[in-house]
């Protein structure tokens, strides 16, 4: 929606008034599913990364090698989280635009880098911190827009 200062607020297409029940409900739903998408992708990727360290090199077209990889418990956990990601992503996309969902959920890249530093003791260089800052500003910019603009064809 557009408030008195002419700024778009998250979660509210223009035709709903500010602070209406529908607007608040929509905002909460968007935040909850964005959180679920981000957490499931960060935890899922981390789990896959950890599992593939144990499985070892896998650049082959042999299906057996991939089956063996999938049977690793960490890879299996990663797949379960990926399924959770798929469902929450589809739910979010049922009302939010792809051009909103993509940048907003990319906060996951920052969390993945931090998980790499905390749990895998990866180095975070100055360049990487600069990248994290850019991503956070991009996310903040897009998160201020309404997830779905009224008038857009569905």
């Amino acid at each position: 929606m557009i408030n008195s200062t002419g700024q778009a607020q998250a979660g509210c297409p223009q035709e709903w008034g500010h602070g209406t029940h529908e607007c608040v409900r929509h905002g909460r739903k968007t935040s909850f599913f964005t959180f679920l998408v981000v957490i499931s992708s960060v935890a899922g990727n981390f789990s896959l990364g950890w599992g593939m360290r144990q499985v070892g090199r896998l650049v082959t077209f042999s299906p057996l090698a991939y089956v063996r990889a999938v049977l690793n418990p960490w890879v299996a956990l990663g797949i379960s989280l990926l399924i959770l990601w798929l469902f929450s992503h589809m739910t979010l996309l049922s009302w939010a635009d792809l051009s909103y969902v993509l940048p907003v959920t990319s906060i996951g890249y920052v969390l993945s880098a931090l998980a790499g530093k905390l749990f895998l003791h990866e180095e975070i260089s100055h360049w990487r911190w600069a990248g994290i800052l850019l991503i956070v500003s991009g996310v903040a910019l897009v998160a201020r827009t309404a997830p779905h603009r009224s008038g857009a064809p569905i």
Partner: protein, 120 residues
Amino acid sequence: MRWLLVALIAATTTISDVLQAAAMKRHGEIRDFRPGALGRVLALLARNKLIVASVAAMTVSFFAFIALLSVADLSFAVPATAASYVLETVLAKYLLKEPVTLGRWAGASLVACGVALLSR
């Protein structure tokens, strides 16, 4: 080999996301989150051709991703998957007819530059 896998991941992720977004736009907003209602939505979507094609593309993307993880660090592989970012925003505008405002372009560009720096 790394960059070949990155290209494969970017292409299949783009196809998967755009098909999924198109299918969910057609389906409309999910409002009822009771288990029975969610089950019915799931049954309906499982028969949706766009969703089936999207999941097929995602499966290829997944196996390419674990192959990439076996030869590269997590801190390279995860940001590299954002290579599809700008293309996806362009497709969202022209194929899905989304109103990509200046704010969204600016945000998407900032994120894309940030991701490029992350992979350094």
